[in-house]
Amino acid sequence: MMLARVADSLYWLGRYIERAEHLSRLSSVMLNATLDQTDSGVQAVWIALSAVGEPDMSSAVGSFEAAEALVLDRTDPNSVVSSLALARENARQVRDQITTETWERLNLLYLKVTDPDAAREFAEGSTTFLHDVIADLHLFKGAADTTMSHGESWRFMMLGMYLERAQLVSRLLEVCFAETPGRQINDHIALVSLLRMACALEPYLRVYTAEIEPRHILEFLVFDEDFPRSIRFSTSQIEANLSALARRAEAGERAGPERIAGRLKARLQYADIQELESQGAGALLTTVVNECARIHEAIYETFVAYPLETRLPA
């Protein structure tokens, strides 16, 4: 049993944490790629900025400034600092539901990125800065995992995290493999950058060795069963968390979101790379993004903003 408002905050806490980590990684990989004065660097920058919806930003302001804005711009609601501020705001609203250990990790990170010296630190060593932010987010997840009860609060947080992750990875793949067929990415270094953006390089190498092929990347990031950032893994987590939550709901209640999530999970479980190639990756990736949006709505209708009339005692 938990308050509907609290579930909402925990769900968004999960989403913002995941978003902050993803954006930090995009910026970090992008800045690294630009160190090489080659076309691959330009491609990597284009991938990262397209994935956040601003493909022309680097030509307008330069890639360092673009990365800085992505990380530290407080006026942009989608920057790392804004995501962390929103995550913390949500955590503060449910301070009684998360453990002190978990809260302290997030609060510490928030104080670090909002420090007046943050911009200077970022300018002096952006790689170190972003590395530390990502490491702190991992500490947050670790603290949450090892100190919080894996009950309802935890499930809502995980739900937000995996929904956000499925959407972010789909978006990244859409940019590379679906939207502009004319601009197929084939460059080795750009593809490595893509794997790094999905935090997938080392696990990928273990499966496919150093043969970096677009086809394998797509297969790995969409269908791999064990890699925690693949779309298949994320959707199966979404489904698992939703079924666990639905079991707690009152009997006789027909909960919507776990049905949508189950269907999406099955879709990814039984599809394969041949099918994906014959139909084009775009269709499946768009389905994933749309179904995630539907699950989001269904979560609201079932757990958070349900009509009161249906729940009043007879």
Binding site: M1, M2, L3, A4, R5, V6, A7, R74, E89, R92, Q93, R95, D96, Q97, T100, W103, E104, N107, L108, L111, E152, F156, L245, R248, A249, E250, F303, V304, Y306, L308, R311, L312, P313
Partner: protein
Amino acid sequence: MDEGVAAKNQDITETPTLPMTEAAYLPGVAYDEMFAADGGVRSHYDPLHMRMSTLGGEELAGRQRTLEKSFLLQGITFTVYGAGNSTERIIPTDLFPRILPANEWARIESGLTQRLKALNLFLADIYGEQQILMDGVVPRELVLGAPSYRREMQHLFVPHKSYANVCGSDLIRCQDGEFAVLEDNLRVPSGVSYMLANRDAAKRTFPGTYRAAGVRPVERYPDLLLATLKSMSPEWRPNPQVVVLTPGVYNSAYYEHAYLARLMGVPLVEGRDLVVHDNMVYMRTTTGIRRVDVIYRRVDDDFIDPLTFRRDSSLGAAGLFNAYRAGNVVICNAPGTGVADDKAVYAFVPEIIKYYLGEDAILPNIETFLCREPAQLNHVLANLDKLVVKAVGASGGYGMLVGPHATQKEREDFAVAIKADPENYIAQPTIQLSTAPCLVDGRIEPRHVDLRPFILSGEKTIVTPGALTRVALKRGSLVVNSSQGGGSKDTWVLAEDGPAQPHGQPNGSSRP
């Protein structure tokens, strides 16, 4: 600080010096918690004094920084909103605990228990038969005319006659070393989370001294609070659902609301989480709505129910008060308790204690002049430079004139305001609050302090053996409110006193 006295103290051959400070510690005219008037260290402060003398200034500053960092990390902060951006500040916290010997505490404990018992009986009476008004002990218009008197509460059943379940009284120690009550807080007193956080910090800062001193624990407060709240629920609800009602995350005491909810293990709700249906209160959960039995509300009377009190409030729940009237939910503290901590009613508390309990007040009041009485008004106007004048309806250090520290112009302006609305003002002599050692800019200096213990009252009355000591951080300032630049420090209540106790009070009371 009084210059003359400071100079005199230096003449004493054995001036107490603390090696790590550049200047000697110079108590003023006020009673000092650590040093007796002859310059000797009070025996219950001995261990701390010894520890303070062995730590260097750099080391103390380091510990102070660690302390502040841990408060920031835990999020024990309030937000200061400025132009464009907002910054988080911690409530200033002082390193050195304030120590109270067991015999003094025993007297405070019995005095507070007596006082809260009498005030709860008073509330039950004025919302019931009004016998005390019939007997003319307290002026009728003073009670019934007070804005904090809620007619809606008349003849409403309150379990155990416990109207004020959580009370935080402000005590001060006067120049003669005796404690007196400055104010009773029966509405939504706050600060208890600082008491607990300060204790946590003090244990880390002075572990050895803490262990050696034999300090009574305060850590049971959350479970005693929960037991008190549960005791307010009717017997036929065997496992009552308790919730904490907060105005929300932007309230300055939000940290405390979340803290108490977390430590009691109960939901922290906002008004929008509550639904009233058929005079029952429910909260919206992920699995439907769930009945609520006891609401520990941290929202003022005015805002708890737009249908009964302020209509523009969105902090409460519509219909909550009717559910309370119907006996389906308990609101703690009860609405309307504010009338008993009214600054004018305060003057009558000793008579109220005598009237209901037939006892003399164990803890005295501060002498109070009511401007509503013409004779007392004239006295106040003639002595504005010596008195502290307070508006009856105001709190938090606002609407207040500290005569000796005010300018001629301020006093004249205040005189006009008093004459225009004498019923709204009371005056008290300027009390030199006692001082305690504080670390200020790397030096140990005396600062004025008060004492806010917390009393719980449900089926039983319990005084937590500890308190929030509030500190006026500005040199010489007598205003300790956090809204006026006050800080706080931990308060150690000793379990037993050592054999040599030169400043003893008779230990004649027992714990309830």
